[in-house]
């Protein structure tokens, strides 16, 4: 377990949970520095096959701390507000969106691969209605996460979307009641980590890289990655288990 001022990182069997607790639900400079450190630590842990991010409080987050807003446009500004450190994690990342997920609380979720919603979710990017621009990566990431029509409505018109809408748009893949969302997300993640860890990493890598590639290049790169997996013990174990109708025991090699 790693316990910092704002973040609590706990490792379980093959997955990790990152819980953050913020004063006033606002993302501060110090929190972002801690988040960066935690993500770097997770990247070095080879026994972890998935990581869950969530707020320890009722809301995912409602905005940025004054220090960040006041200093954002200065050239010397650090740290990075773009949540690139989450994007750089090579294992599946899952975010639980709950309560008010505004501004930074929305944008941190966009940096993760899969989003699970709580039924009390209310998501919004209020910046446009305030004459401002989202600074946490939403402009780049939201259209890659959902269809462009919905993305533009959210970005340009600051519409608030509830859990039902979020599910319809594909912003979240599941919706659970607030008192069940954590437990059900754990069950969801346990299903993911029961699959071959190397396959999960290469699937993520292949899909992420495919975003920027034309299809023919993506197909070629995908095939090259399948050749890597064909040479692994887990592939042999997987095929053998399937044929013999057993549960596979993957070792990550």
């Amino acid at each position: 377990m790693t316990e910092k001022k704002f973040i609590n990182l706990i490792y379980y069997d093959k997955y990790a949970v990152v819980r953050y607790k913020l004063h006033d639900d606002k993302f501060s400079k110090l929190f972002l520095i801690e988040l960066n450190d935690v993500c770097n630590e997770i990247k070095k842990n080879n026994r972890c096959s998935a990581v869950i991010f969530l707020s320890a409080l009722q809301n995912s987050g409602i905005g940025w701390d004054e220090n960040i807003l006041n200093h954002y446009e200065q050239p010397s500004f650090t740290p990075d507000v773009s949540f690139d450190s989450i994007m750089a994690i090579k294992i599946p990342t899952i975010f639980i969106m709950k309560g008010k997920s505004f501004s930074s609380g929305f944008e941190i979720a966009l940096a993760c691969d899969i989003r699970i919603g709580s039924s009390d979710l209310l998501a919004c990017l209020p910046e446009s209605s305030e004459g401002k621009i989202p600074i946490g990566g939403a402009i780049e990431r939201l259209p890659m996460c959902i269809n462009q029509t919905a993305a533009l409505q959210i970005l340009l018109f600051s519409i608030k979307i509830n859990a039902q809408d979020a599910y319809k748009f594909g912003l979240v893949s599941e919706v659970f009641e607030p008192d069940e969302v954590y437990k059900k997300t754990i069950l969801f993640v346990k299903k993911i980590i029961s699959n071959a860890p190397l396959a999960l990493r290469l699937i993520k890598e292949s899909s992420k890289n495919g975003i920027g590639l034309n299809l023919v290049s993506g197909l070629k790169a995908e095939h090259d990655r399948t050749l890597i997996l064909q040479d692994t013990d887990d592939f042999v174990e997987g095929i053998s288990s399937f044929v013999n109708k057993k549960s596979p025991k993957f070792k990550g090699k």
Binding site: S194, I203, I211, H223
Partner: protein
């Protein structure tokens, strides 16, 4: 000319796991391997390659339809028995370069329709996703189960999901290896039409008939231009 070309194909009549037929000017590929849930073996893949070659050669063909004769089953994916039979990674790479069925399917210059009733897993889902349109019954389920056997989608799955679906559900289907329903894909606009099981053949007939309203050369040109810009 189309019928003559079909008769020249090396389709083994004793092993009709995959059949080619014609409806108006469309080529119909029917999966017919009920005892293996339409698992796509090397033979079927070779016939698929031949079919795509035929479309490239015969410019009168104006459409391609994938359909199954097996109830509640489009395809369960690649035949596991064929996994690892290429001998070496180099042989596997060589085979892919010389005969890239999946690239050929994704870049074929006629409209492609998959009519899915039942399970579309692995390569089955990838064929459907590679198609320009999917007609589906409500009971259909789409999955990429490869990570459950230590593998990953190899027929374009990781590329097609991220380009065609909202990312969270794309990663969900890819990491979990479990299915998404036709209704969920319909939420994203991936299902062109929800159809009734008993009306499948009529739907195929109507679609192939509809294509006759368009000049085939122009259709092919348009699709080529679209692919150059967007694929």
């Amino acid at each position: 000319m189309l019928i003559k070309n079909l008769q020249n194909l090396k389709v083994n009549k004793k092993m009709p796991e995959i059949t080619l037929s014609k409806r108006y000017n469309s080529l119909i590929v029917t999966f017919n391997r009920p005892n293996k849930k339409n698992a796509i073996n090397l033979y079927m893949r070779d016939v698929l390659w031949e079919a795509l070659e035929l479309i490239n050669l015969d410019k009168e063909i104006n459409g391609l339809v994938f359909i199954s004769s097996v109830d509640n089953c489009f395809s369960s994916g690649a035949d596991i028995n064929d996994f690892g039979t290429s001998g070496s990674i180099i042989a596997s790479k060589k085979a892919r370069i010389e005969r890239d069925v999946w690239k050929a399917l994704n870049y074929i210059d006629v409209p492609v329709l998959s009519v899915v009733d039942g399970i579309a897993y692995g390569a089955g889902a990838e064929i459907a996703l590679a198609s320009d349109w999917i007609f589906s019954t409500l009971r259909s389920q789409f999955a990429l189960p490869e990570p459950k056997i230590g593998y990953m989608p190899a027929a374009g799955g990781t590329q097609l999901i991220i380009k065609k679906m909202p990312s969270s559900d794309a990663y969900k289907i890819a990491f979990l290896g479990e299915s998404l329903s036709a209704l969920r894909l319909n939420d994203f606009g991936l299902i062109a039409k929800l159809i009734e099981k008993d009306n499948i053949l009529n739907e195929v007939d109507e679609w192939c008939s509809m294509l006759l309203n368009f000049d085939v050369n122009n259709l092919r040109t348009l699709k080529n231009m679209y692919m150059q810009l967007h694929r």
